[in-house]
Amino acid sequence: MEVAEPAGIYVYSDTELDRAEGEAIESLKAHCQQPIPDPDEWLEEEVRRNILLTSIDFMLNWARRSSLWPAICFPACCAFELIAANASRFDLSRFGMEILRASPRQADLMITAGTLTWKMAPQVKRIYDQMAEPKWVIAMGACGISGGIFRSSYNVVPGYNRIVPVDVYVPGCPPRPEALIYGIRMLHHKISKGRAIEG
C-alpha cells in the first residue's frame, strides 16, 4: 500500500553545489589549524602611555561605541541568552544595540552565540568578511572560546579564534545576560582607547 505520490523525488537537488561546498570546508579546515592571535596591543602599557587622543578621535570613538549594531550569527544555545539580554529585563537598548541587523554590511559587532562547526565555518568567515571596518568580535560562551563541552568532537571548531580574530571573550555556558553586558562594556573601554583616524 503506497502513498499517492512517490516520496522524495526532488525536482532539483544539486550535488555539484554540495561538492563545491564540501571542498570549501575541507580547504578552510586545512588552513585554520592555528588560532589567529588576538588584537590586544591596546592592553600594553607603553602603547597606552603613547596614545594621545585628539578631540576628533574622542568624538568618533564615543559615537562608535555608543551604537554598536550586532550582526546576526546565532548558531546555538547562547543565542537565547543574547535574545534575553535584548528583551525588556536586561535591556541592551540602553547601549544602543537593540537592532540586530540581518545584513552584515550594516553591522559592526559580531557576537558569536553558539558552537561553531566546520560545516558552518566558511559561512561565518563570509559574514565576517562582509562586515565593513571598523568591526569587532565578541566570543560568547565556552563553545566560542575553546569549543566548550564539545571540544573533542569530530565536527567542532575549537574556538572562534581559528576563523576570526576575537576582541573580547565572555565565559559561561551560557553566560548570564549580565556577564554579556559586562563583556560589552569591556569592548566599550577598548574602543574608547583606540585611534579613530590613522596617521
Binding site: 532539483y12 546576526i72 544555545c77 560545516k119 559561512q123
Partner: protein, 367 residues
C-alpha cells in the same frame, strides 16, 4: 507572444533573521511560487551521539541539556527515564512530583518562545515576542531558584532529581500559577481574532492527517492535524496517569491551528501544575544510586512528550560505565520531513511562516 521562463533556485539561510537557528532551504521557484524545496542542515552537528559513548551515564546528562536548548528539563527527563528502565531503579514519590512540575513549567516556557517566534515571523516584529519573554523570565527565575542556572539546568539525575527545592519555591510557584492564566487570556485577546494573523496563517500550510502520520510527525503539529495522540495519555510515563487534563486538537492542520493548540496546551499545563502542587508529598528526592552506574547488558527505549514532540532515547549497554550506543530520536528532525509537503505551492513568505509554525530547534535536528 510566449515568454520563456525557467525555474530559479533560491538559497534561504543558513544565516537568516527568520530561521530558528542555522537552517538552510534551497527553494526552486517558478515566479514566486515554490515548486520544490530541499532542506539542508548539519550546520550545528556536534556529534552528541558519539560524545555520549565516551562519558559515564551521569556525565551524559549535561550533553542532553544542549539538544533542545529551550526545553532542557524535558531532555534530561527522557534520558534519565531511559537509564532507569535499563537498570530498574525505583524513584521516590517526591522526586516524581518535582519532575512533573519542572517538565510542565518547561513546556509553558518553550511554548512561549514558540508562539513568540511564530508571531515574529508573521510580521509583528518583536512585540509579542517581548511580551512572552516577560513571562518566560518569571519561569526562569523559578528554575534558577531550584538549579542555579538560567538555561541549561542539568537538574535530573538517575534515581530522582539532584537537589530539593528551597522553601520559597512553592509560594512563588503558587503566585505564578495564579497570575499566568490572566496573561494567556491577554495574549489571546490581542491575537486570536487579529486580521493580519488570520490572513497570514489561516489556511496556510495544511498538513492532512494521513500525511502527518506517514511522515512520523509528533507533538503539537500532529495534534493540530486532528490526530489525538499525546504520549502523556497514550503511554503514561512517570506519574502522569494521576492527573486529569485534556488534549487539544485542531481540525484543519494549518498554521493557525498549530498556534491555537499551543495556547490551549499552556492552559492544560497550568492545570497539571496545580494538581501536582496539591498532591506533592515530603520525603527523599533521590534514591540510593552508585556514582558510577554499571547497567546490565541490554537495551531500552523510552519516549516522552516534550514541547517539540516525541523525544526518545535508545540506549544500548554492554555492562560498562559508558553507554555502548545512545541514539536520540529527535522530534524536530521528524517534523521536518513534512516541511516539503507543506511548502510546495506557496510563496517564500508563506514558507517562512510554515517553517516557524512547525517550531524546530536546530540543536535537536543536528544533534
Amino acid at each position: 507572444m510566449a515568454i520563456k521562463t525557467e525555474p530559479f533556485v533560491l538559497n534561504i539561510g543558513p544565516v537568516h533573521p527568520s530561521t530558528h537557528g542555522v537552517f538552510r532551504m534551497r527553494a526552486t521557484l517558478d515566479g514566486e511560487v515554490i515548486i520544490d524545496m530541499e532542506p539542508i542542515f548539519g550546520y550545528l552537528h556536534r556529534g552528541i551521539e558519539k560524545l555520549a559513548e565516551e562519558r559515564t551515564y551521569t556525565g551524559v546528562i549535561p550533553l542532553t541539556d544542549r539538544l533542545d536548548y529551550i526545553a532542557s528539563m524535558s531532555n534530561n527527563l527522557t534520558y534519565v527515564l531511559a537509564v532507569e528502565k535499563l537498570v530498574g531503579i525505583p524513584v521516590p514519590e517526591r522526586a516524581e512530583y518535582l519532575r512533573v512540575i519542572m517538565a510542565e513549567l518547561q513546556r509553558i516556557a518553550a511554548y512561549l518562545i514558540a508562539v513568540g517566534a511564530f508571531l515574529n515571523e508573521c510580521g509583528a516584529f518583536f512585540t509579542p515576542f517581548l511580551y512572552m519573554f516577560r513571562e518566560r523570565e518569571k519561569i526562569i527565575d523559578l528554575f534558577e531558584m531550584v538549579s542555579g542556572q538560567r538555561l541549561l539546568y542539568n537538574y535530573m539525575r538517575v534515581g530522582g532529581v539532584s537537589q530539593d527545592i528551597p522553601e520559597e519555591f512553592l509560594p512563588a510557584l503558587d503566585k505564578f500559577v495564579r497570575e499566568m492564566p490572566g496573561f494567556i487570556d491577554e495574549y489571546d485577546r490581542l491575537l486570536a481574532e487579529n486580521e493580519i494573523l488570520l490572513a497570514r496563517a489561516k489556511g496556510v500550510g495544511i498538513l492532512t492527517k494521513e500525511m502527518a502520520v506517514n511522515c512520523s510527525v509528533s507533538g503539537p503539529v500532529l495534534r493540530a492535524s486532528g490526530v489525538k495522540w499525546d504520549i502523556r495519555k497514550a503511554d503514561p510515563y512517570s506519574i502522569y496517569d494521576r492527573f486529569e487534563f485534556e488534549i487539544p486538537t485542531g481540525e484543519v492542520g494549518d498554521c493557525y491551528d498549530r498556534y491555537r493548540v499551543r495556547i490551549e496546551e499552556m492552559r492544560q499545563s497550568l492545570h497539571i501544575i496545580e494538581q501536582a502542587m496539591e498532591q506533592i508529598p515530603s520525603g527523599a528526592v533521590k534514591s540510593e544510586v552508585p556514582h558510577l552506574i554499571r547497567p546490565p547488558a541490554g537495551e531500552a527505549y523510552t519516549h516522552i512528550e516534550t514541547p517539540k514532540g516525541e523525544l526518545g532515547f535508545y540506549l544500548v549497554s554492554d555492562n560498562s560505565i559508558a553507554p555502548y550506543r545512545c541514539h536520540i530520536r529527535a522530534p524536530s528532525l521528524m517534523n521536518l520531513t513534512a516541511l516539503r509537503e507543506m511548502v510546495i505551492g506557496w510563496k517564500i513568505q508563506d514558507a517562512i511562516i510554515i517553517f516557524g509554525s512547525i517550531d524546530i530547534t536546530v540543536g535537536e535536528v543536528d544533534r
